[in-house]
Symmetry: C2
Subunit: 291 residues, 2 copies
């Protein structure tokens, strides 16, 4: 594996004033960005959505790792003080590698979500839903058992939840029946806590909550991740003390679709997104003369 | 734009004995490969599914064009005698460019589908369903009007059909309600012919047919595309006259998921698929040392 990567922070920028990098395969991580904006209103936030290659959730670990390194390098080149992997799939398979590669803290969404679930559970029966890749990785089960070895864990991949959320079908009969099909066995299993292990799923929260009933506590990692970032930066004296805060958006595919979908996830306009080409990613054909 | 690319056919191979290259973003094009296998049983078929970057249907033209060139070059390097773009999205946005780039015939799925629809229609009212990118491109409307300027055309993007087909939910209540939501206005519009403008959609054909009723003729491009390939090769004296025929499978992500999903689309095992890295595509992180 590659060696540790040098930081290329802009010369002279003090650590507190450097930006925070937040990345995801597409629009889902905007639910995490929203929580960060609310909890850290003075910070400069950079968001990168790898919309040319979304989704990651149905892809293999080695492919996701390759993409994660390209997005991590993008932020390293911009001198971020901390990276947030706002994508459960990437957190599940690439977090250790990213932590070894960069000299700044790298925060995923799985450990914070697991901690919140262990705090919330009353009978120690925790459910986890996510993409195929996240569930297959077993990352939530490991994180939960690291904190509390005695919990019982029930997991289910829900591949249709992401396209449903992106289509905006979050409160119709298709959504309700899809939720019922995926979650029937989790409901029967007697869980008291359910982790939404994918950043798209908060958009389906109302339908999921209605189906699971009032006795099941829903855990959304976004809030807990934002709290973890704040704790970490405060511990290092790296919180930004001045300024109004900002969010800049970068995408790898055309910005139009991101702008249209993103607002539902972020709760405010993301229309200023800029398209970038990552190293290793295919550039548009017209820029690649071949003989 | 890049100049015309040289053919790199294996020295000494006669044209009829060279393989046919078939490519798609994932498993959907296997419905076209199946039709080709049936109609051209002596040919050597190479299938490439760009499973690391699937789906193309929600991505922008320039991104899809970049990916198409990489997959086209893959086949050019293997000396194919003809390429089939078994993906409606790529056919919609990249066909002209691919035809200019390679010295061999490049057959898409849109022109054959449009021809079959014009033959089938009785009242000149044709519906087209496909991915967001295919419908936004207007490629079917152009192809239909080139053949018969007087047709009335009604289109609808159906983004959830691909994940439904991949999940295998092709005959349940979620599939039926999704079909009804997407196709209600097409049914009211009085079309007599409906083009399945995405290679995934044949898996949902029974539900679509049941909803549209017996008066609407369903057109699946796969059969017509295979007929077109046969016509073209026969016209050039390039049909393979001997041999038992074969199909080889290449994918850009791990082969396991392709093998699991692909069988439903191809109707036979695709378990022998081999993973390849395309030029321009990100290689797995472990192969890319950085300093």
């Amino acid at each position: 594996m590659a060696g540790r990567r040098k930081s290329r922070a802009p010369a002279g920028g003090s650590v507190p004033d450097r930006p925070i990098g937040v990345f995801d395969s597409g629009v889902g991580g905007l639910t995490v960005l929203k929580a960060l904006s609310a909890r850290l209103p003075k910070e400069a936030l950079l968001y990168l959505g790898d919309t040319a290659r979304v989704p990651y959730g149905s892809k293999s670990p080695s492919t996701v790792i390759g993409y994660a390194v390209e997005t991590g390098d993008f932020f390293a080149d911009r001198g971020v003080k901390l990276m947030v992997v706002a994508c459960n799939t990437t957190s599940a398979v690439a977090l250790d590698l990213l932590r070894a590669r960069y000299p700044v803290p790298v925060v995923g969404v799985i450990e914070p979500g697991a901690r919140a679930a262990v705090r919330a559970t009353r009978r120690g029966r925790i459910g986890v839903i996510g993409t195929e890749a996240t569930i297959a990785s077993g990352a939530y089960a490991r994180a939960l058992r690291d904190i509390e070895p005695d919990v019982e864990i029930f997991t289910r991949a829900c591949p249709l939840f992401v396209p449903l959320a992106e289509e905006g079908w979050t409160d119709n009969e298709v959504a309700r029946r899809t939720v019922a099909l995926y979650l029937a066995s989790l409901r029967r299993s007697g869980i008291d806590t359910l982790i939404l292990g994918c950043t798209h799923y908060p958009l389906l929260r109302a339908v999921i909550e209605a189906y699971m009933g009032p006795d099941v506590e829903i855990v959304d990692s976004a809030q807990e991740t934002a709290a973890e970032v704040r704790r970490l930066l405060r511990g290092k004296g790296a919180l930004r003390a001045r300024g109004r805060g900002s969010a800049s958006f970068f995408v790898t595919d055309a910005a139009e679709r991101f702008a249209r979908l993103g607002e539902r996830f972020y709760g405010a306009s993301v229309g200023s997104a800029v398209r970038v080409v990552l190293r290793g990613e295919a550039a548009p054909a017209s820029r690649r003369p071949r003989s």
